[in-house]
Symmetry: C2
Subunit: 209 residues, 2 copies
Amino acid sequence: MRKENISDAVIRRLPRYYRQLSELRAKGITRTSSLSLGREMGITASQIRQDFSCFGEFGQQGYGYHVRELCEEIGRILGVDRNHHLIVVGAGRLGQALMENFPFAKCGFTVDAAFDIAPGLIGSAVNGITVRAMDDITAWLRENPVDVVALTVPREAARPVSDRLIALGVRGFWNFTNLELSSEHPGVQFENIHFSDSLLTLSYRIANG
Amino acid sequence: MRKENISDAVIRRLPRYYRQLSELRAKGITRTSSLSLGREMGITASQIRQDFSCFGEFGQQGYGYHVRELCEEIGRILGVDRNHHLIVVGAGRLGQALMENFPFAKCGFTVDAAFDIAPGLIGSAVNGITVRAMDDITAWLRENPVDVVALTVPREAARPVSDRLIALGVRGFWNFTNLELSSEHPGVQFENIHFSDSLLTLSYRIANG
DNA sequence: TAGATTGTTAATCGATTAACAATC
DNA sequence: TAGATTGTTAATCGATTAACAATC
């Protein structure tokens, strides 16, 4: 029975399932079960079955789950098969690090371009991705609509740049600036990666727990 | 009344409170309340009071909270005042991006050194931080114990490198490799930043909700 | 004082876990 | 078939919200 409203907690677990299943696939394991998956991931079998049941029936009684099929199903739910288009806005070290190291293709993303204001960067290429002038982004986006902008500009630029991009029709932001961006605009999604929040929770846990 | 066991959800909210309060401070606002803080952050006043009450009594009936005091209290809880020591292991683009851009000092961290195996990097400096040879890390750590390692090595190196560092006494890992590291060793804390999990949840939300 | 807002207890809500009939 | 394991319903647990006496 497909659910209407999927909780955020469930959605956040989906990529972990996808990662674990991808690893099993890579190891050549073809079959698994909620029990063994749960043991590997530190999750109860119950929760795994509940989570999957939000999206459909992927298993077989008495057998479990076929790893490749389940992996592909979850990939589809996450949109890995959709070939999203992305640009990197802010081609400093962090933007470069993403372009150089991040496995966009495995997540179903193609990086079409990068943008920056630094004259020294404009015209260069990182990992085959051309860095263009921020001034050209309006014209460029008209010709090349994108699903997501990876926002790796300095903190001060985050708000004005994202406002401008929303006006240009961008509906998804992968936000690495340490500024909390959230959507006043309906249909615009923000995913914030707050490095400092992460480090501070670690700081807390080192002292306590 | 101080609680014994603080839930993970509460801990994850603390850095957000800290960020919001820091911003209020920067704006020169000296006084706030659970109600106004809640409005700003999209959280109920009730939850804010509950969260704070885990750690003590920071407010005053009829007045609310003094921004600076509350900010400092939460900073103390998070350990921002503790001057932790950190090294960056893996001085590629991502490691460099952190050294260059991340406000370690604001989080209470000092970056003492970076380490890498690439001959071209060894001996260079990024933002005043010397990049040293991975071969020297054992000797170096004996002289300079650290609280946290920022792990920015390639995925394949994550496991062997972290094992080695644990053996050398490191007890905190800020893990940027896309490998799930979790502690079999008691007292060793891992904080994983999974870029791909984050992008995939965004991918999901673009299509649904 | 009167108004505001806390810290805390009680009520509600939602998420996790357990149980089990269905069935491969 | 007998054993295993699903999907789902029910029970439990924990987290969020509401309510309110205390008090600045």
